[in-house]
């Protein structure tokens, strides 16, 4: 529905005024729309980012920008962009999803090198959200196998957060003394035996845990866990940091094929750069994402304890990790048999 932001007349006017514009800033302020296609838990984050970016950009360029949002499971959102949803920027849960767009030529192959920090302006990690007083005494990944403990995590086939959950658990299993691939696989099989339901997205899993009261522990994005505590009462739920987790890097990119067609590259790039600015970093930190900027992080240090984290590189990068674990016949398919 969002039409090209320039009507033909303003485009002509802008062309005519181009030589003047160089001398005297811009002659005509344009109304620009951007579509940011994002994953599930970022609703609150981007509402705040968009509110802050609009005046900043207007001061910078004179253009009034309206940013439209679309949210859903990261995999499903990727699918929609592949099917023609005209996203100017994508802000997804993991690199593999943007890789899928790059494979189809929608995004430049070097997308991850175009912005600092692997094109992830903020990070998160995977934590345990447990009920008041942690009645089952869940402290680390090994405790999740205790008899009678029900673990809530979404489906790694559709949810980006679920894939980070999966890899965090796998990282722990592989770091145990004397661990082998087989022992890690056994742990994962045992872990998923404790999972009663696989929701399609992170927010759905949170709702299962919080609203429907299912399970003893929710494997969640750190930001999602903090937000649940904020929404449902800090004394109702506690966050447990396991001995090892994973540095989850949700990446961002402009969608080259769309911005070139719509002529929105400049504003789309400015939007993503804003995420790295001190203001953008502060908004991310306020919304429970770990900022990359060290000074901003220092301000929120007590909220984000330093824990031991592996990275996706320890799994050989997303293409390898995706193929080994989540593709058809991958580790997840081998260890998970639904309906038992």
């Amino acid at each position: 529905m969002h039409r090209s932001h320039l009507t033909r007349r303003t485009a002509l006017a802008a062309l005519a005024a181009a030589p003047l514009a160089v001398a005297s800033h811009r002659a005509h302020a344009a109304d620009v729309t951007l579509l940011n296609v994002s994953y599930d838990p970022t609703r609150e984050l981007y509402r705040a980012i968009n509110r802050a970016f609009t005046p900043v950009y207007q001061k910078q360029s004179g253009d009034r920008v309206t940013i439209n949002q679309s949210h859903g499971g990261s995999g499903a959102q990727t699918r929609a962009v592949l099917d023609g949803l005209e996203a100017d920027v994508v802000t997804l849960a993991l690199g593999a999803d943007i890789d899928a767009l790059a494979k189809r030529g929608l995004v430049a192959a070097d997308w991850q090198k175009r912005l600092p920090d692997n094109a992830s302006p903020y990070t998160s990690t995977i934590v345990f959200l447990v009920r008041k007083g942690n009645p089952k005494g869940l402290k680390d990944w090994s405790d999740l196998l205790k008899p009678g403990v029900a673990v809530i995590t979404p489906n790694p086939k559709t949810s980006g957060g679920a894939r980070w959950n999966f890899l965090a658990a796998l990282a722990w299993a592989k770091a145990q003394p004397g661990a082998t691939d087989a022992s890690a696989e056994d742990y994962m099989r045992a872990l998923f035996r404790q999972v009663p339901v696989l929701d399609t997205g992170a927010r759905g899993a949170t709702n299962s845990f919080v609203q429907r009261g299912l399970g003893d522990v929710l494997l969640a994005w750190e930001n999602e866990a903090w937000l649940a505590r904020k929404e449902f009462g800090a004394d109702e739920y506690a966050i447990v940091y396991p001995s090892v987790s994973i540095l989850a890097e949700p990446p961002v990119s402009v969608v080259d094929s769309v911005v070139d067609k719509r002529g929105t590259r400049a504003v789309a790039e400015a939007y993503l750069k804003f995420l790295y600015s001190p203001e953008g970093q502060d908004i991310a930190a306020k919304n429970f994402y770990r900022p990359r900027d060290a000074t901003v992080l220092a301000r929120y240090a007590e909220r984000y304890p330093a824990i031991k984290m592996v990275t996706i590189e320890d799994f050989g990068g997303w293409p390898t990790a995706q193929a080994a674990n989540f593709s058809d016949g991958g580790l997840f398919d081998r260890i998970f048999t639904p309906g038992k």
Binding site: M1, H2, L35, D40, R43, E44, N68, Q69, S70, H71, G72, A80, L82, D83, G84, L85, E86, R203, G204, N207, E231
Partner: protein, 278 residues
């Protein structure tokens, strides 16, 4: 034992009545009560505030727009189809009836997905459409297409039995007396089936406004742009915005109640006309 079904003992009657009412309360009334109490948790002001949010207004506008396009379209097509099926005997007539009913038996998700497969970027017509800058999927046309598909049978299915029962004698009389096709349609056919048509349109409209599955697939979920009311309810619920979610849900429920009242009135009128056919 040769007792007819209407002569069951009083105790059986009572059990059946209690069971029916119990089920009605548990499955219909209770959820409705929940919707309204949740919406009104912060009083009427909370509801009004939630409904006046720009995204909520956009969702309401879009839902009305989609219904305003797809319902008249389906009324016209349904009328034509019903007329064709009830007035003529031809080869493939049964196939046509089956096709009209197809959307009833197809899962709504599939009803949405077919349009993605046809008009999506990698669909049959995708490259052509994107070359010409025409957007169907993830825009209003896609929402209309999906809605038209799922609501197609309602008008035709209501009219076919009615028109078959009425027969074509009056229309033939009009034609032999020199009426043109439009005159016949306007002065004979439509007055005869008017109430039935209205009934079909009502059902069609209710489904068009309430449809979730099919439109979810083609929507793209752009806030304030391609979110119909049912989609907005889900989005707000997942935003932890209960008042907002239940306010819009309440509005949809009210619509259903209004539909129900109209439906009851129409059924009563139709019964008088057609002797209890519906």
């Amino acid at each position: 034992m040769n007792r007819s079904a209407t002569q069951e003992s009083r105790s059986v009657q009572a059990v059946l009545i209690v069971l029916t009412i119990g089920l009605l309360v548990a499955f219909l009334l209770l959820p409705l009560v929940v919707v309204f109490t949740q919406a009104l948790k912060d009083g009427l002001a909370g509801v009004l505030d939630a409904l006046s949010q720009p995204d909520a207004l956009a969702a309401i506008r879009l839902t009305l727009l989609v219904a305003a396009i797809s319902v008249p379209l389906n009324a016209a097509c349904g009328l034509a189809a019903a007329w064709c099926v009830s007035r003529f005997q031809f080869r493939g007539r049964n196939l046509l009836i089956t096709l009209i009913e197809l959307p009833f038996s197809v899962s709504p998700v599939i009803s949405g997905l077919v349009w993605v497969l046809l008009f999506g970027a990698s669909g049959w017509f995708g490259p052509f459409l994107s070359q010409h800058g025409i957007r169907i999927i993830f825009a209003v046309p896609g929402l209309v297409l999906a809605t038209v598909f799922v609501t197609f049978p309602y008008v035709a299915r209501t009219l076919i039995p009615l028109m078959e029962q009425q027969g074509s004698a009056e229309e033939e009389a009009a034609l032999t007396l020199g009426a043109g096709l439009w005159q016949m349609l306007w002065h004979v056919t439509l007055p005869n089936i008017g109430w039935g048509l209205l009934y079909g349109v009502l059902l069609c409209n209710a489904r068009a406004m309430g449809e979730f599955g099919a439109v979810a697939v083609v929507s793209g979920h752009i806030r304030g742009q391609t979110m119909t009311m049912p989609l907005q309810v889900e989005a707000l619920f997942n935003d932890y915005d209960w008042i907002g979610a239940f306010s819009i849900a309440g509005l949809l429920a009210l619509l259903a109640l209004v539909t129900l009242v109209f439906k009851a009135i129409l059924e009563w009128r139709l019964e008088r006309r057609s002797g209890g056919l519906l």
